[in-house]
Symmetry: C2
Subunit: 457 residues, 2 copies
């Protein structure tokens, strides 16, 4: 009896040990393939150089849809298809003008760009006094008396002491998102917003802004962090500093577009779906290299890696290129709606939308059991630099799947350089390192491998 | 009795808890200062742009000595001084020529550079057949019959599947260091070595090579990884491919130079010294930004950070800019010799010579007690991304201190991008990220703080 229990125990112990060795081997195969023959960088170079910017509704976005379909068909995935989605269509127009008119210093041109969704100043531009605030409380204190007829300059920097730059971004981005509507309440004629950038730089960063209902729509422009410092410095010396701005953006009719989906059918549980995804649309100033071409090519690469190492997943694995994350999330919403309508059973979704930087870990599902299971895999992933499994939650595009009980994870690359490039003309392929990008794809593939093999229940 | 033991135990528990809270606070102060007002990037920009390359014996090296002294004096360290050291003086001369002469393809220029220490081909250059090998075993198999009168082309790539690129470098660099002497044994007239680079690139990487005693000195040039692939491809198709190379390097008399040392005197144990250091010399092709301007400015910044946050170290802290790490290690040797001669008591030395990338951890001392102590601090450092304390040993410049029983540590930044730039014209300031660099300095300061406070015994 005792012997048989021992034997039985040993048997299970051995099985577990064998299983771990197999997992280590499979994960090593994934990383070896990605680092020696990975295609992420080649794909991203093609997307950035030959298509470039691809804001929702633009010709670039349409081209990127066809590009994704073509690439995934080329890799021979089991099926590739498009999901129609109607997207907002905002167009920047000709280059913006920002100009300080100082009595003491004369005219100084500064680098500005329209925020996504902003109305235009009209061809005559807007010339007005400028008043600086750091937050909405300061704005409120100034009130109508201090703001009426002026340009409000939001100049709260991202907090550099926050280790995670996304936390610093989160602490500053209300100025960009809601600044214009807040300022309009007090009669401001326009807003100028310090760019969401980690450092002092010469180029502005765009990004989405929203108009609140029943508030006058006033133009909203971003200014480079270095020029924000300049305006602030001059304002200290000259309270009635004048500013001129001009932008030519326009919002057109919603445009037809698509999510692009590629799939490898599961061998045992084809109805259980694991999604890996990024968003195909990008802001119009750069090439959308880190945001989020990286996430797209990494998602495609996960499926390619499985094929390349001959791994047949038990569950169905989908790479999803979401459309319109930047200014509407229509693609993410449409994907989740269609999944519900078709009664699809998604067991997990992993998003990559924090850039193609060196891997650090994953954000984990909020549900306790799934969270514990993901964290239990840390010993298998830590040798590849994946040691951070502290944060919970997924990402914007997979967020709408939460209500269907899908376990959401996010790929977590290092965050230090992300906001150097984010939403700016600097988000280009030369800012991406091949090894870092391929390691991200391999990390995502390793996570999908483990979820596919063990589930999350 | 029981109560007093409990009280006693609680007393110590509380002390430990208070101590930990104080350490957390001090380390946060260090990182906050570095991330909001750090000077590493500003210093490195100045060094790279206004001085640039600084190979031992060059005018740039001399300028960088004065620069270091000036910078550290400007920060008001307790003392700053120079340690004389005689260094090798190798000069590249005018730009090298590499040329494939193919019967089928005609003439193709390729990107080459002399390896450091190489003799010259003379003005007439060397034209010869070329034979490819992957390692010294293949060379031996070819023997005199296959090699005599030819240029040997060493073309073993760095293994891309190694996660740590330094391991991949270590597995390939024998070709660069010893290739010429090995090939000369069999009558080769010159060697061409595939650059030590992680990826396919157009620019060559230099680096030191050594001539073995009693072997004919033949010229040794590096070729870019992309052109190495080209030569290899053409050789498959045309066995008697001809190659022409020309270089103009010369080794001059040893030159006088200096290590530069800055110091904050310890308040309690001034005779116990903790060194932080990098090397001031750099290869002549780039600006020596990551290798090792980064380590120099980070070392200076450690002392500046202590002053800035008002931390008075108990022990003496020295920032040492070592001269001649790249092609002689004369500075590292001289520093250790002088320390022994002056009967100085060094308790620890930390080297930063793996680039200014995002922090990952530290290499730890080999001595068991010191190793365990450093690893016990992991919980304090992990919130800053410092989670890898697995590797043992210090670095090249502090190595000579080992025989004096000094605990050696190395700052460990992420390795993925290092060999994109290493020893090439691409090692320039624009490849350095400000936040990553400042985080490295703060990491080193945090480690010095802990060693200063708790010792390593």
């Amino acid at each position: 009896m005792t012997k048989s229990i021992l034997t039985f125990g040993f048997f299970f112990f051995s099985l577990a040990a064998i299983s771990q060795v197999r997992d280590e081997g499979a994960i090593k195969q994934i990383f070896d393939e990605a680092l020696s023959k990975g295609k992420s960088y080649e794909m991203l170079t093609d997307l950035c150089v030959n298509i470039g910017p691809r804001l929702s509704g633009s010709p670039g976005a349409a081209a990127s849809v066809e590009w994704s379909r073509h690439v995934m068909e080329g890799f021979g995935f089991d099926s590739v298809w498009l999901q129609p989605v109607l997207v907002p269509h905002w167009v920047r127009g000709t280059k913006e003008i920002g100009r300080i008119n100082s009595k003491k210093r004369g005219t100084v041109e500064v680098n500005v760009c329209s925020l996504g969704g902003s109305v235009s100043t009209g061809p005559a531009g807007i010339a007005a006094g400028i008043v600086e605030v750091k937050n909405f409380d300061e704005l409120k204190l100034l009130g109508t008396k201090g703001v009426q007829g002026k340009i409000v300059f939001f100049n709260r920097a991202m907090d550099p002491t926050k280790l995670n730059t996304f936390a610093a971004y989160g602490g500053a981005v209300d100025q960009r998102g809601n600044g214009s509507s807040e300022a309009a309440k007090y009669g401001a004629v326009a807003v100028l917003v310090r760019s969401m950038g980690s450092n002092l730089e010469d180029y502005p960063h765009t990004g989405n802004m929203r108009y609140a209902p029943n508030v006058t729509k006033i133009p909203a422009l971003a200014i480079s962090t270095r020029h924000a410092e300049l305006v602030s410095k001059l304002l200290k010396d000259e309270k009635d500093l004048q500013f001129y701005m001009e932008n030519h953006s326009v919002t057109l009719e919603d445009a037809p577009s698509f999510n692009v989906v590629g799939e490898i059918k599961g061998s045992e549980f084809p109805n259980e779906i694991i999604v890996v995804g990024g968003h195909l649309d990008s802001w119009d100033l750069g090439q959308g290299a880190h945001d989020d071409g990286a996430g797209c090519v990494q998602s495609i690469e996960v499926l390619r890696l499985f094929n390349a190492i001959g791994y047949k997943p038990k569950r169905t694995i989908r790479a999803v290129m979401f459309m319109n994350e930047e200014n509407g999330l229509r693609g993410g919403n449409a994907y989740a709606e269609l999944a519900a309508k078709n009664k699809e059973q998604h067991i997990a979704a992993i998003e990559s939308d924090r850039g193609g930087f060196v891997p650090r870990g994953f954000t984990v599902p909020t549900e306790e059991k799934a969270k514990a299971k993901v964290r239990s895999w840390k010993p298998l992933l830590e040798p590849y630099g994946l040691s951070d499994f502290s944060e919970e939650g997924g990402g914007a595009d997979i967020g709408p799947l939460a209500s269907q009980g899908v376990a959401l994870l996010g790929f977590l690359p290092d965050s230090q350089r992300y906001f150097n490039y984010h939403h700016s003309a600097e988000d280009t392929i030369d800012k991406v390192d091949k090894r870092e990008l391929e390691l991200g794809a391999a990390s995502m593939a390793a996570m999908v491998y483990l979820i596919d093999k063990y589930g999350l229940k």
